[in-house]
Symmetry: C2
């Protein structure tokens, strides 16, 4: 059974104990916010997730989306849920108040997203893609386009998409063929086909605003000839009525729905643009700027999808492990009153549950850190503070995207494994998590692309300046705890792992500069190593807080004791992988690249 209740206590820990919520609410943009107000918002989002979205998750998977005569219908219940979602203002959490948004911090938006994705990943993609389109329009479009579209998108009256991939090109967008020709009135006419368009067509909103990459006549070849266009499903009409005021139908149609392994409640569309009217967003041939602006936002979002799935998988597995009676505890019956002990007594079941648990709590801690820095990047008063925060977000975006989604797939599979044969049967809803999670390693840039982004773009940028935002706090913290006898295990483990990260960074800086294939060969393990060290730092800090709060009473006592045990489990059972990552990096590219293509 799919089970989910918002992990509000751990969210509060990450927000207010591990990280500095006062620094967040001290930003001028958030001056009327405090920790209690945030807690109230999160509680409401949790209620929505559990009560409205979770019940639609398994049925949405079973029913899927349908396409008939160009009309896409989302699974039963999605329309009503979207209406409630929009009425509750959940589209607009972080949106600009100038357009009807609530103007809340990205940090709050991230935790709200975590809950929505945990409850129903397919549903989350409809508002999720809108957010990306909104950002690109806000940053790059003309004032007229902004005034026309941003209120509708911000409030979720209309939805948005990203139309990037074509059948012959995904990662390499320079190969795309969709063409845009000037219409003479300042607009353009687009013709071509796009695939893998999430929420490309659906029945949740009257209008859908497509952000489309296409080539202008005479555009240079490759990605330097790609421009970004806004192409609405319906041309805007007179602004009235619940549909937001749509006019004539534009020349964009859904020609097919993809049949996918998972996220079946999400309409993944093939779209055909036939002389569709569109407007340029940003400068001609500079479409990749807009694309990357959407993409970076989406990449963090996909990482948070992973976090949500980890938590959902964990909770479902815990419930089953408590209920399912099989065998006896190895040292002897724990529940002699029952025909068998619940399987939660077995070490291997514990291993799986604890792994999911520390993935969830660790990724949440790291996610809040990055989101806090994203808020600082947008709102800090000081330019240098903004720049440093931006560097950190840029550095950690591929780590969040790739590591969180790797952990999500691992966790979903562990939850299945806890369920045994029942996990493999569709009726129990657990295998859905594994199928849904699997896309997160692929879309918005495969995890291999994330690793290349980290070592090829983020590391060398500004002569390695970005790393400081990660390395300095870790180095300082190690100094801080070195003398603390309670922290001995954590200090030693963190220092060792941090040491391998420094060595690995040097390896890439020296060998990767001379030979980019050396950097490429190290990339995946370097990303994981970076992520593990960041997690180790956060777990060590969490342990220190838990140790300090050791005397707490009531539910807090349980919480801090559990937090400390979880921190120890991370150091015992997860962090050793950092050593393996380092050994693999050090081995270099030779055996990875030596095989002649014909010998495979």
């Amino acid at each position: 059974m799919q089970t989910y209740a918002a992990p509000l206590r751990d969210m509060r820990f990450a927000l207010t104990e591990l990280h500095d919520v006062a620094a967040l609410t001290a930003l001028p943009a958030f001056s009327d916010l405090d920790a209690d107000a945030i807690a109230t918002i999160l509680e409401a989002a949790g209620k929505l997730a559990t009560e409205v979205l979770l019940p639609l998750n398994a049925p949405g998977d079973a029913h899927g989306c349908t396409l008939e005569n160009g009309v896409v219908r989302t699974p039963p219940g999605f329309r009503a849920a979207y209406a409630a979602f929009r009425a509750g203002g959940w589209n607009a959490v972080t949106g600009d108040p100038a357009y009807g948004g609530q103007g809340l911090p990205q940090t709050v938006g991230m935790l709200v997203s975590e809950m929505i994705c945990a409850a129903n990943l397919s549903f989350s993609l409809y508002p999720g893609l809108t957010a990306g389109a909104t950002i690109a329009i806000d940053r790059f479009a003309s004032d007229a386009l902004r005034a026309l579209y941003l209120p509708k998108l911000t409030q979720g009256i209309w939805a948005g998409t990203m139309c990037l991939t074509e059948a012959h090109c995904g990662t390499d967008l320079g190969l795309l063929r969709t063409r845009a020709v000037p219409a003479g009135d300042g607009s353009y006419r687009l013709t071509g086909s796009k695939i893998f368009v999430s929420a490309g067509e659906h029945d949740l909103t009257e209008n859908i605003v497509h952000m489309v990459l296409a080539r202008l006549p005479g555009a240079p070849p490759g990605i330097k000839g790609v421009s970004l266009f806004l192409v609405p499903k319906y041309l805007p009409g007179t602004d009235s009525g619940p549909d937001g005021g749509v006019g004539a139908r534009n020349g964009v149609t859904c020609t097919a729905l993809e049949h996918k392994m998972g996220i079946k409640g999400s309409a993944t569309c093939q779209l055909s643009f036939d002389d569709a009217q569109g407007w340029l967003v940003g400068a001609p041939h500079k479409g990749m700027h807009g694309m990357f602006t959407m993409m970076n936002s989406e990449r963090l979002g996909v990482g948070i999808q992973g976090l949500g799935l980890i938590e959902a998988a964990y909770q479902s597995a815990v419930r089953y492990a408590r209920d399912r009676l099989q065998g006896r505890a190895l040292p002897g019956p724990r529940r002699p009153d029952l025909p068998a002990d619940p399987i939660i007594v077995h070490p291997d079941v514990r291993r799986m549950l604890m792994t999911m648990r520390v993935h969830a709590e660790g990724c949440r801690a790291l996610g809040v850190w990055v989101a806090n820095r994203l808020d600082a990047a947008e709102h800090a008063a000081d330019a240098r503070a903004r720049r440093d925060a931006e560097d950190f977000v840029a550095l950690m975006t591929p780590v969040v995207k790739a590591m969180f989604t790797d952990f999500a797939v691992e966790s979903a599979n562990l939850a299945m494994q806890v369920h045994g044969g029942h996990g493999y049967i569709r009726d129990h809803g657990i295998e859905q998590y594994a199928r849904d999670a699997r896309i997160t390693q692929i879309y918005e840039g495969t995890n291999g692309i994330q690793a290349l982004d980290l070592v090829g773009r983020k590391l060398p940028a500004h002569a390695g300046r970005s790393l400081r935002g990660l390395f300095h706090p870790i180095a300082d913290f190690i100094e801080n705890i070195r003398a603390d006898p309670d922290m001995e295990k954590f200090a030693a483990g963190l220092e060792r792992a941090f040491g391998t990260l420094q060595l690995a960074t040097r390896h890439i800086a020296t060998r990767g500069l001379a030979d980019p294939e050396e950097a490429g060969a190290a990339a995946g393990d370097y990303l994981r190593l970076t992520g593990l060290v960041a997690l180790a730092y956060l777990w060590a800090r969490a342990a220190r807080i838990a140790i300090a709060r050791h005397g707490a009473a009531g539910p807090d006592q349980t919480f801090y004791a559990a937090k400390r045990i979880s921190a120890e489990f991370f150091f015992d059972r997860i962090l050793p992988d950092a050593t393996a990552c380092y050994l693999k990096i050090r081995s270099g590219k030779a055996s990875m690249m030596a095989m002649p293509e014909t010998a495979f």
Copy 2:
């Protein structure tokens, strides 16, 4: 696209170069066999796999099995394929010649199985389950039952099943409730329900012979009160006609088909036994002996399923990586004549392909080793040689089952990742591998149960005698290559990994004896460590052969060069995980077991 051609060259390498085919064919049972004859058989099996079974794999997944009025139909084409399979004698490869079997070595049977599973895992389960039933009947049933059933089962005229799990118990069969009461005529009447019965009902054979665990009246509680029964779908009639001579319908019916994540071409049934006539197999209350006999054979078989899937995933990914054009090689265009380079030029794609490749070749090498020992255990002239071989097979069975299937799931997911978004779309057939592979970690005892079997049963058996069969050849080989400058890298890596395995063994022997939860907490990582060390040993031996054959000409030159590169990749990129396993084992049970149940 699903792609598969039998890897005959690497099979020949494993059979005749890495292992000692002469020792195999010197066994009296196989005196009329030689390497060439085996090669001919494997070639024919490969042809069957590619031409008959592979084309049914994706359609079988899409169509699935159907149940109507108690009648189960397999996907279109399965009946004809099964008829061809049986006519070709493929059911009977390792079967007893006394019953119409071909009496070929288990080693040959294993490689044939690899190919069948690679081409169509769902199909493979129909003959696969029959094999387990045949073994149990052969070993434990009365002469009359053996005479009646073994010819039919051996030749695949009838099929077999194992009916173990009930809704409330899977791993813990002591809880089962199906009852058998004596009918007064030497037979019994069985009543109860079984779930997860692979091939429990289908249209490939007229009759199906169920091996059913049930309780006799007054049976002791738990697994010591479980007996094994033979319950045919049709009672045997007069032995004639193509159906093998079936009589009256027995009281066993399929009440439902499970809807599963994958292996949809395999009918996984809920069976209801209603006063069904059955015959005791083995002594009363000793059903677990028969069950484990079937199960151990099935566990090796499931490992080989994993091997087949690794190879299929690998080949499909290689094909796509050669064809798909995206981006340019990091040092500069490799194919300037094309709009982009094939993705096989990218280090991360290489990493994925090489990982799958070394999983396939390494597991094949280990699988042939174990199968060779299984043949020796059955046929060696000397009792001590048989015992030693049996020890080795017992020790390595959980390793083969769990590690091969873990690698299969990893490889299937890597193949999807190589395909990017296209891997997630059902039409391309790649995500099917990931869904199909996932069951192999669960059925016939979850991989967690395999690990417990290794540390709880196999390690301590006969005061640790079983380990010798693994440790001695490794220690001898390290001594052998220590002075060889060409083997320096392999000797050093193997020695280091072997050292950690010895330390880990001591850890379990000392701490696990005093506290079984310590053994349980170490079990999963210990199994993987054992497997990695066995693979490292085989890869080092493969490297030595490849180095010695360095001067070979023609296709052999490519083969040995590739083998050496693969061996280096294993030592560079896979073996470092052994270090992480050891560090995890050493951390002990504390943080894994400390969390109070209520704190999860």
